[in-house]
C-alpha cells in the first residue's frame, strides 16, 4: 500500500467487512443459477455462466472458516479479473452484501498482527481502520494459490494460544 489512496469495493461476509480494489472488479451480479462441480472443494464448489463464459464461483467464507448461511435477498456475486496460475481469469466471489466503493488512505491501514488472529495471516494483505470498525483487504493471490485451504494453519494458531 505505497500509494496514498485506493478505491475499493466493500462487501460483507458473515458480519466482517472486506474490501477489493475497484480496478479488479468487473461486475456485481445478483445470484445466478449455479452448477455444482462434483469433487471440487467447497471453496470453489460451483461454476456460473457469466455472459457466455463459464467462470468459477469462489466462496471466501471457506478461506476464513466462516459458517455457510441461508441466502438472502442481499446476496451478490462480485466478478473480478485476477491472475490464476499465471493467466488472467474471471472469477466470481460470493458476497453476503455489497456496499459502496470507498477511498482507503494508506495511513488508515496496518499490517495484520502475527498472532491472535483467527485467520491465516498470509490470507490478509492489510487491515483498514474505519469508524472504529475493521475492514479486511484479503490477499487473493495467497488465498487462490492455497485453494482456500485454511485448516492447517488455523490448527497451529490454536496450539499457540
Amino acid at each position: 500500500m505505497t500509494q496514498d489512496t485506493i478505491e475499493a469495493l466493500t462487501f460483507d461476509l458473515q458480519g466482517e467487512t472486506f474490501a477489493l480494489e475497484a480496478g479488479y472488479v468487473r461486475e456485481v451480479l445478483d445470484l445466478l443459477p449455479e452448477t455444482p462441480v462434483p469433487g471440487a472443494p467447497a471453496f470453489v464448489g460451483a461454476v456460473i455462466n457469466f455472459r457466455g463464459r463459464v467462470i468459477p464461483l469462489v466462496d471466501l467464507r471457506m478461506a476464513f472458516d466462516m459458517a455457510v448461511t441461508e441466502t438472502t435477498i442481499d446476496n451478490r456475486i462480485v466478478v473480478i479479473e485476477h491472475p490464476l496460475d499465471g493467466e488472467p481469469t474471471l472469477i466470481g466471489l460470493r458476497a453476503d452484501k455489497v456496499h459502496e466503493v470507498t477511498s482507503i488512505t494508506a495511513d488508515t491501514t496496518e499490517e495484520a498482527p502475527r498472532v491472535g488472529m483467527r485467520w491465516r495471516a498470509d490470507f490478509i494483505r492489510r487491515l483498514v481502520r474505519r469508524n472504529g470498525d475493521v475492514i479486511v483487504l484479503p490477499d487473493l493471490d495467497q488465498i487462490f494459490a492455497a485453494r482456500g485451504q485454511s485448516a492447517p494453519v488455523t490448527a497451529l494458531h490454536t496450539a499457540q494460544r
Binding site: V54, P56, F144
Partner: protein
C-alpha cells in the same frame, strides 16, 4: 487483404517460400539432377530476393542473391547439385529465415555460410555435371507478350520488362494496339497494350523466362525460336504452361496475389480472424438452442418452422466453419523431413522417413499444438528406437532405419502413428528405471501395457546418457500432457527387436463437439458423442445384483461400470429406469450409470479455470439453451477410473 501490414505479408510469404525451397532441397538430396526441382528452388530463391529487396529486407536480399547465384550455376549445368551443396544451402536457408523474421543474427555467421557455399560449389567444379550447357552462338526469338488489364494496378510494369529483354541482346520492339478500345471507352489505369520483340541474343530460352518470372502466371507469353527453324515452337509453349502449373513457388508474387483476389481462388486470412468467427458461431449455436427450447414450448407453428430452419443453418454454419479451419496434416509432416535430415547428421544413423495419409485434415490450432510433441516423439524414435548401423547389421536388418509417420481419420478422431523398426522398448530397463525413481514398488505386478505406459510418467527417462537429441528433461510426460490438453490420448506398443508404435488419437476439433446430454441427480452433464458406444437400461434387478461387483455383461463381455450418482455424491435416489451409457477410449470400455438420457446436444466447449483442473472428471463445460451450465465428462479419466476400480475389486475378490 490491403489492410494487412505489408511487412507481415512479406514475412508470411517468405516463410512459405523458404518452406518450399527447403522441401525442394530435401527432394533434391534424394534425386540430384532433377531439373524441375532445381528450377523450383531457383525460382523460390529468386522470388525471395526480389520481394525481399522490394520490402526493404536488404540484408536478406543480398544474402539470398549469393544462394541464387550458386543455384543458377547448378541450373545451367555448370555445377552438380552435390550433397554438400544441398547441405550448405539448407544451412544458409536457416540464416535467411532469421533475416526474414528480423531476428538479430551474427554478422560473421552469414559470411561463414557463404564460404561454405563457395566451397561446395568449387568442390563441384572438379566434376562437371552431365547436363550439357547450351551450345554457344546467337539465338533469335520472336517474343509476343501482353499483361492482364489490371497489371498496372497490381504493380507490374511493362517498361522494366522490355529493358531487361534489351539487356539480353539486340531487341526490336513493336507495340500491338489491337486491344486498345476507342478513346471514350478507354480506362487509363488498364493495360491494353501488347508487345512483339524480335530478340537476337547469346542467351537461351530460360533467360527470357527469367525476365517474366514475376508475372508469368498472369500474362500471355509466346516465344518462337527462329534459330531452330520453328520445329520446337509448339512444345516450347506447352512446356511453359506445364512449368507454371508444376511450380507453385512462383505463387505469391505480387501479381499472383492480384489474381487470387480477382478470381477468388484462395484468400489469405489471419488465423485470429478465424478464431473470432469461431467464437461467433459458438454463440450462435448457444442462442439457437435457446430458440429451440422456446419453440418447443410454443404452439406457434410458424415460430417452430423458423426455429427448425435456424437450427439447420446453424449446424451447417458450424460444419462449414470447421471445414474452413481444417488444414491437411501434410503441413506438419513436411517439417519433419528437415528434422530427419538433421537427425541423420547428429546421430550418424541412416534414417528413412516415410509418410502416409498426409491429406488427412485437422483443425489448424490442433496442428500447431501437435508440432512439438511429434518432434519429440520422432527424436525419441531416432535416438532411442533405431539402432546404429552395426547393431542393425547384427540383427539382420537393413542398414537404413525406417520411421513411418501415418495419419488417418477414424470417426471424430485422427489417429497419428509413429512407427520405427528399431530395437523396441527394453522392458527390463523401463522397470528398473521406474523402480529406481519410485514410480512402482520393486517386484510390483504390472501388465505389459501398464509397464509401457510408465514411459509417460513424470520424471521418467530411460536414456542412460543425456544426448543432444532427447533426454533433456523434457520427457514423454510433457508429450502426454500436451496430447491430453488437446483432449487426445497416447499409447505405445512395442515388440522387442522389431520396433515400436506410438499412436496418438486426436479429436478433429477443439471448439465444438456433438454431445450426449444426460442427467445425474439434478445435474446435467455432456458425454462426447464420439466416445459413446451404446446405451442400455440398467434394470432394478441387475442393479441389486451388481452392488458388490460393478460389472454388466454386454454381448458376452464383462464391462465394468461406474454409478455417476455415487461418484458425484448427489445424495439423490436413483431413477426407476437408470441407463448405462457405454463409453470407450482406445481398447477400454466402461459403463456410466446415469439417471436419464436427455438427448443430443451441440456442445460449445468452454474451458474450466485451473481451480477445477485437478478435479479430473471434467474436461470442460458448456452453456445450455436455458443459460445453465453443464459439465463435460472427461471420458479417458473416467474410463481409467472405472478400470482401476475393476482391477481393485478383482484383486480383492
Amino acid at each position: 487483404m490491403s489492410g494487412l501490414d505489408p511487412i507481415e505479408t512479406f514475412r508470411q510469404e517468405a516463410q512459405e517460400l523458404l518452406e518450399q525451397v527447403e522441401q525442394g532441397l530435401l527432394d533434391l538430396a534424394r534425386r540430384p539432377g532433377d531439373r524441375a526441382l532445381i528450377d523450383t528452388i531457383f525460382r523460390g530463391l529468386h522470388t525471395l530476393k526480389g520481394s525481399g529487396a522490394m520490402f526493404g529486407f536488404d540484408a536478406l536480399a543480398a544474402f539470398t542473391h549469393h544462394c541464387e547465384t550458386a543455384f543458377d550455376r547448378v541450373r545451367k549445368g555448370e555445377v552438380p547439385a552435390s550433397p554438400s551443396l544441398v547441405s550448405a544451402v539448407l544451412a544458409a536457408q536457416d540464416h535467411m529465415r532469421a533475416l526474414a523474421e528480423g531476428t538479430p543474427v551474427d554478422a560473421g555467421a552469414g559470411e561463414a555460410l557463404l564460404a561454405d557455399l563457395q566451397a561446395a560449389i568449387d568442390g563441384g567444379d572438379a566434376a562437371p555435371a552431365a547436363a550439357a550447357p547450351t551450345a554457344p552462338g546467337l539465338n533469335t526469338f520472336k517474343i509476343r507478350f501482353s499483361l492482364p488489364a489490371d497489371a498496372l494496378i497490381n504493380g507490374a510494369r511493362p517498361l522494366p520488362l522490355l529493358d531487361e529483354l534489351r539487356d539480353l541482346g539486340e531487341a526490336r520492339v513493336r507495340v500491338i494496339t489491337d486491344d486498345v478500345p476507342p478513346l471514350d471507352q478507354l480506362v487509363p489505369a488498364e493495360c491494353r497494350l501488347a508487345w512483339e520483340v524480335l530478340l537476337t541474343t547469346k542467351h537461351d530460352r530460360d533467360a527470357i523466362d527469367d525476365v517474366f518470372i514475376f508475372v508469368i502466371d498472369e500474362m500471355t507469353l509466346e516465344v518462337e525460336d527462329l534459330t531452330a527453324a520453328a520445329i520446337v515452337e509448339e512444345p516450347e509453349v506447352v512446356e511453359a504452361v506445364v512449368v507454371q502449373e508444376d511450380v507453385p513457388v512462383a505463387a505469391n508474387t505480387p501479381a499472383e496475389t492480384g489474381r487470387a483476389a480477382k478470381s477468388g481462388d484462395t484468400v489469405r486470412v489471419p488465423a485470429e480472424r478465424l478464431d473470432e468467427m469461431m467464437d461467433r458461431v459458438g454463440e450462435l449455436v448457444i442462442a439457437q438452442s435457446r430458440l429451440k427450447q422456446l419453440a418447443a414450448s410454443s404452439t406457434d407453428v410458424a415460430l417452430r418452422a423458423v426455429a427448425e430452419e435456424i437450427e439447420r443453418l446453424a449446424s451447417e454454419m458450424r460444419d462449414t466453419m470447421m471445414v474452413v479451419r481444417m488444414v491437411p496434416i501434410a503441413q506438419l509432416f513436411g517439417r519433419f523431413r528437415r528434422l530427419i535430415h538433421d537427425l541423420e547428421r547428429d546421430t550418424g544413423k541412416q534414417i528413412e522417413l516415410s509418410t502416409e495419409g498426409e491429406t488427412t485434415e485437422l483443425d489448424k490450432t490442433v496442428i500447431e499444438r501437435l508440432a512439438d510433441p511429434l518432434i519429440h516423439l520422432i527424436r525419441n524414435s531416432a535416438d532411442h528406437g533405431l539402432e546404429g548401423a552395426e547393431q542393425r547389421a547384427a540383427a539382420g536388418k537393413p542398414a537404413v532405419g525406417k520411421i513411418m509417420l501415418a495419419a488417418r481419420q477414424s470417426g471424430a478422431e485422427v489417429v497419428i502413428t509413429i512407427t520405427d523398426d528399431g530395437r523396441g522398448v527394453d522392458r527390463a530397463r523401463v522397470r528398473a528405471k521406474a523402480e529406481e525413481n519410485g514410480l512402482i514398488q520393486p517386484g510390483q505386478v504390472l501388465s505389459d501395457n501398464e509397464l509401457l505406459q510408465l514411459i509417460f510418467a513424470p520424471g521418467f527417462s530411460t536414456a542412460a546418457a543425456i544426448t543432444n537429441l532427447s533426454g533433456r528433461g523434457v520427457g514423454m510426460d510433457v508429450v502426454k500432457k500436451t496430447i491430453e490438453g488437446l483432449r487426445g490420448s497416447i499409447e505405445i506398443t512395442s515388440t522387442p527387436g522389431e520396433g515400436s508404435v506410438v499412436s496418438l488419437r486426436i479429436p478433429l476439433t477443439l471448439a465444438i463437439i456433438d454431445g450426449l446430454l444426460v442427467r445425474v441427480g439434478t445435474g446435467r452433464y455432456v458425454i462426447p458423442l464420439a466416445t459413446v458406444e451404446e446405451c442400455v437400461e440398467l434394470t432394478p434387478a441387475q442393479d441389486l445384483r451388481s452392488t458388490g461387483r460393478n460389472l454388466i455383461t454386454l454381448r458376452d463381455e464383462l464391462v465394468p461400470f461406474l454409478r455417476l450418482r455415487e461418484q458425484f455424491k448427489t445424495g439423490t435416489q436413483p431413477d426407476l429406469h437408470q441407463k448405462i451409457v457405454v463409453v470407450a477410449t482406445g481398447q477400454d470400455r466402461v459403463g456410466l450409470v446415469v439417471d436419464q438420457i436427455l438427448g443430443d446436444h451441440q456442445t460449445v466447449i468452454k474451458p474450466l479455470s485451473s481451480f477445477h483442473a485437478d478435479v479430473g472428471a471434467f474436461s470442460g463445460a458448456t452453456i445450455m439453451g436455458d443459460g445453465g451450465v453443464a459439465l463435460i465428462l472427461d471420458i479417458p479419466a473416467l474410463v481409467s477410473l472405472g478400470q482401476r476400480h475393476d482391477a481393485q475389486l478383482r484383486a480383492a475378490g
